[in-house]
Symmetry: C2
């Protein structure tokens, strides 16, 4: 089942995607809901980021093939295989939806990269769960783009702006509840050309392991998001580009790239 | 004016503290409100963390006297005077209110320290503001305790659990709107004994400078919190302790310290 959050007729609602239609639901996607008689053509609604998370987590380095590249950004030591996740969080202001622009800050060096990822959506309050039990607390999976400004990532002590600037966390288009999260393929296209391909079977820590590890110290709440981490090397995006993260079986997260409007330069 | 969030008669409301009473308000503390006729003795209500923030920011090292201590935890380089704030964020799950317990995680080394701080409360959406304008976006100030597990702070790549574990961000008791934020005294008492004293005039970056710097890349929202940073050296708290952060002119944030209930050990 594909669960989307959308705006139509000036209201925000949740719905189930069926073919090229979306059927509005009544109730909570996290507990119990029923389908209503209200349905819209998908093309007529504005699909939003699928949840309103309190927290958006990343697992730290989670693909062996990303370690060498990470070391070139973060310095030596980053290329050693981690013994456990090294969680961090993208700040909430960075969340943005499908088709919304990724905005290159005017004071950025311009070295702003895509990172195509799969994203777990927490479905229930979750604290001190085992890896085996963790999947019961995950509602489903969606696509995410862990947009990263590499100059700030190198220079700053934290990722606050390198990965947390406004619009740096596109997520969507919807939550697929019936899919094996460790058998996903993640494709990234920049202006239609494939630039990244990853397989969640290569994650050093599975979603269940990351969620379990996080939950030892942190209560996760319904709607919280957990990114997979990214693989390989990445490239910069430029204003005017279109970036797509596709996970077959889930969908395509597409975002245009824009320069920040600079009032002072007008 | 002192604005508090509280629970009384099973409802959560905001109110203005007047002497030993709290007068419930109607409206929004961020835009416009009026006093109602409903008032409670302060002793009869449950004072909560004063806002429901999306983000809880720290400025990084912000007191010259904390740099040497920080270097002993974080390694060399941390003792150099910073050229700009190095923001990071405590995760939302760590937020807790006055009189709620700080819980020492059962898998912690036990080296869990207080850090008494002043906290700015954002009052309006805030993006790319100058240091001069920033104070217009701040509603007021309260007390905060940036609880920190020093072993995890040393060992991990990020502060996710060192400073972001559940209950590691006590904030309150209320927001004082009429006070000079750079002329505050911050006292910490552990079981009644003074263990830390700081002056916000010694902040390397003022609240206005931190908020301005953050707002260059991050939209701050009403209720978001910005900690001052801490000074000097700190000590571990033990289960059974009581820790108080007092800022004269604002109030006292008091929290008991407890060990995590360990079902497996019963």
């Amino acid at each position: 089942m594909k669960i989307a959050r959308f705006r139509a007729a000036r209201r925000v609602a949740f719905g189930v995607v069926m073919g090229d239609e979306i059927v509005e639901i009544r109730g909570s996607i996290y507990t119990r809901f029923r389908l209503t008689d209200t349905r819209y053509p998908l093309a007529d609604v504005n699909i939003l980021a699928p949840t309103e998370p309190a927290l958006i987590w990343g697992p730290g380095l989670n693909f062996a093939e990303h370690l060498e590249f990470a070391a070139s950004v973060l310095g030596e030591g980053a290329d050693e295989l981690p013994e456990h996740p090294e969680p961090w969080h993208k700040s909430r202001n960075s969340l943005t939806g499908p088709n919304d622009p990724i905005i290159i800050p005017k004071d950025s060096s311009g070295d702003v990269h895509y990172e195509g990822e799969a994203v777990a959506v927490i479905g229930r309050n979750c604290r001190r769960v085992t890896p085996t039990d963790a999947r019961k607390y995950i509602l489903g999976y969606t696509c995410g783009n862990d947009v990263s400004e590499r100059t700030w990532q190198k220079k700053d002590s934290t990722f606050w702006r390198a990965k947390g600037s406004d619009t740096f966390a596109p997520v969507g288009p919807w939550i697929e509840t019936d899919i094996n999260p460790q058998e996903l393929e993640i494709l990234v296209r920049l202006n239609g050309e494939e630039v990244q391909r990853a397989y969640t079977k290569d994650m050093l820590f599975t979603f269940s392991e990351i969620v379990s590890y996080l939950s030892q110290q942190v209560t996760l709440h319904p709607g919280d998001l957990v990114f997979s981490g990214t693989t390989g090397t990445t490239k910069a995006m430029k204003p005017g580009d279109k970036v797509e993260v596709e996970i077959p079986g889930i969908g395509v997260l597409s975002n245009p790239v824009e320069a920040e409007f600079d009032a002072a330069a007008q």
